[in-house]
Amino acid sequence: MNILEVEQLSKKFVLHLRGGLNLPILRHIELRVAAGECIALVGASGSGKSSLLRTIYGNYRAESGSIRLRNGQDMVDILQSSPREIITLRRHVMAYASQFLRVIPRVSTLELVAQPLTDQGIDTQTAMKRAAEILLELNLPKHLHALPPATFSGGEQQRVNLARAFVGQHPLILLDEPTASLDGHNATAVKNRILHAKKTGRAVLAVFHDPDLVAQVADRQYSIPSLSEHAS
């Protein structure tokens, strides 16, 4: 059962401040991800891996193609969805962890991680409990939970970000270099979360910088077709 179907997706940036310069980012992307599967996005730096994740998440627009996402029995096209529909899909269907955490001033780590659950309508107490569990699994000890993550190290912030992406049990998880600032011990914790997500029938689409991790968690690799260099 496919969770995600990307067809003929093309995306470019039009830079109006640079005289309307056209910057093609993605061209004719064809990609399918099934439940229980992990696909690794590969390609040279600048090939559009992160942009593809962002476009699927609705963070970027695209001018052509479709991105169909399973929502229960239906497949909905992200590119045709209204902002409110995308918010609902983000709440229940897809989660995304970028490389960097966007902290909210004065909000504790625990609250930050519980938020995707309370957004789903889960009561605060249960949400806090599950948030604490996933933080511990990702090696973030209890004494850090009450602190806002603004002062955390890069690796700690990245794991807070990943905890937010994993906690909501979304059918599709998008990860951008999830282990980029992690040591071996913490990368293993992330690997276990990905394997667990697969085992529970969820789909993972990720950019990895570590080939060993790809070998351990990915079922397939998808190589982003290269663009011609010239800007039109």
């Binding site: 039009v14 109006h16 963070n59 970027y60 902002p83 409110r84 309370t118």
Partner: protein, 260 residues
């Protein structure tokens, strides 16, 4: 998925002219319960005028506005009597303006200011009014010992927090914020943003936020509308408008922000 609830506020094809000068042109928008819509744009783009149209303090030259009422649901604003409109503005809706002195009663105590809306709603019990006033003072991080002081003795930032407490106490279904945190210390701003963020979720408030601060818009709003010369030139998901702006003006706006 509960996407199809009724909006708390809907405007269609609004125009507003000041003499012969068009200030608002062809603005349509919808705002839903539990949602924050940020209106961003340079000063003079018509943001505050739009807010006043949508709050009912200015009548549009053309176009229709519907707003939520506690008893009758969504109602055309033009059909509300002056009295009803006034009552809604003092109970079910709230407006936080840029200059708190325009909203506060400077001659009565901080506590008196905070509970005014509750008294309009019929609450008379002195002990309970005092308790609620103390609760809201603490929520906006003002020392409870200042309850009986006159606003005149408060700093600008404290006055703004007082205005916010005074407005939020009635838990308005529809909240209008006009640059609510622009005059505040960053620490107080963070506290208020956090408070607002939580209230939107727990009280299912619909919030219209006018701001020129894109970071505030990103933090609080699900959607952003960009205004220029009285028109909404781009509208969409907050992070999408900020990370992949389409309109030349939005690109200029986003690229002009200094990174902190």
């Amino acid at each position: 998925m509960p996407v199809n609830t009724q909006p708390a506020l809907a405007a269609r094809n609004l125009y507003f002219q000041f003499g012969k000068q068009p200030v608002i042109r062809q603005v349509s928008l919808e705002l839903y319960p539990g949602e924050v819509l940020a209106i961003v744009g340079e000063s003079g783009s018509g943001k505050s005028t739009l807010l006043n149209l949508l709050y009912g303090t200015l009548p549009p030259t053309q176009g229709e506005i519907q707003a939520t009422t506690p008893d009758l649901g969504l109602r055309p604003m033009s059909e509300l009597s002056r009295q009803t409109l006034r009552h809604l503005q003092r109970t079910a809706w709230g407006f936080v303006c840029q200059n708190p002195r325009d909203a506060l009663r400077m001659e009565i105590s901080a506590g008196g200011n905070i509970v005014e809306r509750r008294m309009i709603m019929g609450l008379r019990h002195y002990g309970q009014l005092r308790e609620e006033a103390l609760y809201w003072l603490q929520k906006v991080e003002i020392d409870p010992a200042r309850l009986d002081d006159l606003p005149e003795t408060f700093s600008g930032g404290m006055l703004q927090r007082l205005q916010i407490a005074r407005t939020l106490i009635s838990q308005p279904a529809l909240l209008y914020l006009d640059e609510p945190t622009s005059g505040l210390d960053v620490s107080v701003q963070a506290a208020l943003l956090d408070l607002l963020r939580k209230l939107v979720v727990t009280e299912n408030m619909a919030v219209l936020l006018v701001t020129h601060d894109l970071a505030v818009a990103r933090l609080l709003a699900q959607r952003i509308a960009v205004m220029r010369q009285g028109e909404i030139i781009e509208e969409g998901l907050a992070d999408q408008v900020l990370d992949d702006p389409q309109h030349p003006y939005t690109q200029l706006l986003v690229s002009s922000v200094l990174p902190a």
